[in-house]
């Protein structure tokens, strides 16, 4: 179990500046469904790096959807840069969205555009000239390991390659807020580290980052606060440096319980050929 603190992060200030995002008693439900998120209140300071974890279906993606303005809360208030989102008009949305970069869990690449054009999309939509950004985009794609796939159709890429295009697209315009929904779910751990490094660098340049992931190994690499969602509620853990002792204890317990838990799970409902082994 590695618990060491990466020294490159100690100088990042997490609590100094005004919040870029503030949630006040936010609740959210889909249509007539049950409340997915309940009564969330938190601030994300400018320039912070925030992990978001929680079991599958806990509402991580839903929370991120609120932040990237793809959904509205059913109750409570969300403010961006001090501005209440409820008062936003349709016309103001695009400009706010250009300050936010998003990596979607399902990538959402445009299969009729090349990898290069996908990555360059936010710049193009913002009206930038191709000749101005071509070099930067190419360099970024090379960094995520896609230097030789720039002309490819995203549909012909492997899962991990697609994920990296999605990441390149999200960071290319160096947004003020970067929202990443499991950005490393489809890549091996070496590439995951490489990508995390990209986020860290962006964070150092001032971008507020929210990074949803199931990969606890990755979480452990950074000394950043961790929001965990469970049953609609959020719990924010301070950065590891602030809670070294308790963390160590909890993690050790979890590791010990790991194999035990696997055996305790029980038998799934499968028909055995002879029908004898089935537990009803």
């Amino acid at each position: 179990m590695e618990t060491s603190i990466d020294p490159s992060f100690s100088n990042t200030s997490y609590e100094t500046s005004a919040p870029v995002i503030r949630f006040d008693n936010v609740g959210m439900r889909y249509d007539q469904g049950p409340e997915v998120l309940r009564d969330l209140s938190f601030d994300l300071p400018r320039g912070s790096f925030q992990f978001l974890t929680g079991p599958s279906g806990a509402g991580k993606t839903s929370l991120l959807r609120l932040i990237y303005l793809a959904a509205r809360p059913s109750s409570g208030r969300i403010s961006f840069f001090g501005r209440d989102t409820a008062t936003l008009s349709r016309e103001e949305l695009p400009h706010l969205r250009r300050r936010i970069g998003v990596v979607f869990q399902e990538f959402r690449l445009l299969n009729h555009l090349s990898v290069f054009d996908n990555a360059a999309l936010p710049l193009r939509v913002a009206g930038k000239k191709r000749s101005d950004y071509a070099e930067d985009v190419a360099e970024l794609l090379a960094w995520v390991g896609l230097g030789d796939k720039m002309k490819a159709n995203p549909a012909t890429l492997s899962g991990g390659e697609q994920q990296r295009v999605a990441i390149a697209r999200a960071v290319v315009a160096q947004p003020e807020i970067l929202i990443a929904d499991e950005p490393t779910g489809n890549v091996d751990s070496e590439m995951a580290m490489r990508l995390l490094r990209l986020f860290v660098e962006l964070n150092k340049l001032g971008t507020t980052i929210i990074f949803a992931t199931h990969d606890l190994q990755l979480v452990r690499l950074l000394d950043a606060p961790v929001m965990s969602l469970a049953e609609g509620h959020v719990h924010i853990r301070a950065p590891r440096s602030q809670r070294q002792a308790e963390y160590q204890r909890a993690e050790d317990e979890a590791a010990a319980g790991h194999r035990e838990a696997f055996e305790d799970i029980g038998r799934p409902p499968l028909d055995s050929p002879d029908g004898a082994e089935r537990d009803e």
Partner: protein
Amino acid sequence: MSEFEIPPPPKGGAGALLPPDAGRDRPLFIVAAILVFLACIAALGARGAWQQSQRWTEDLQTSLTVQVRPVEGGSASEDAQRAADIAAAMDGVANATARDRAHAERLIAPWLGTENIPDDLPLPLIVEIRLEPGIEAPLDALREAFDEAGINASVDDHSRWADAVRGAATRSQTLALALLALLAGAAAAVVAFASRASLAARVDVIDALHLCGAEDRYIAILFQRRFFMLGLKSGAVGAIIAVIVSLLVGTGSQAADASFFLPSWENNPFEFLLLAIAPLLAGATAALSARLAVITDLGRRW
């Protein structure tokens, strides 16, 4: 920038932001072309009917026929000549020709045969009067003048025939225009539905563009441009086929009554205008229809 090979800019510029959706627009293209073709045929047909009726009624309206009957003790041919002179002297009359007895005999030959007519049979003689174009036939003045001159004449302005021709022309024109309206409405409806469907089918693209900070206007223009091009192209194809068909029909031999309803290509400005305007009209209809559909749909989000 040497180590990376930057892909060339996409063809078609910003339009390429929408997927080309190869096969999906093709039925729409064909349908639009068919609709424009039929609309052009209908328009050419309406135009043809109008022109034909104009030509016929003009013929009928610029000529008068006078029947001069012999009066007791007078000479029919003298009376006819006098009537022609009187008519020719009138305002608005281009010329007047008195026909002789042989002409009158030919007219009744189908009824009496040629050998049966006694020389002393008092046949009425015909005076043909041609008016200057655009002149109201001076029926009353003619009748008065003939009465004064003691000529027993009846004047026929063909109005019975002209009315019938005009009526038929109006009917066929109405028919063609109704068809035209139906086709235009159908085309607009088809494009509106299609652009809405196309929007729904590309909701992922729209979402991605939105979340990259694209404005509604930006997206609407993408759709508008695509459907304008589709309308333009299919309109051009439809119009050109219509021209070809009307040329073919025009050269084929045909009875007058059929040509009354068939489009025919007259080498004049109206047809060229129609050819030029049909694709533009189709494009504009498509673009407007698409824009309305897209803006309405996008407005419902957020």
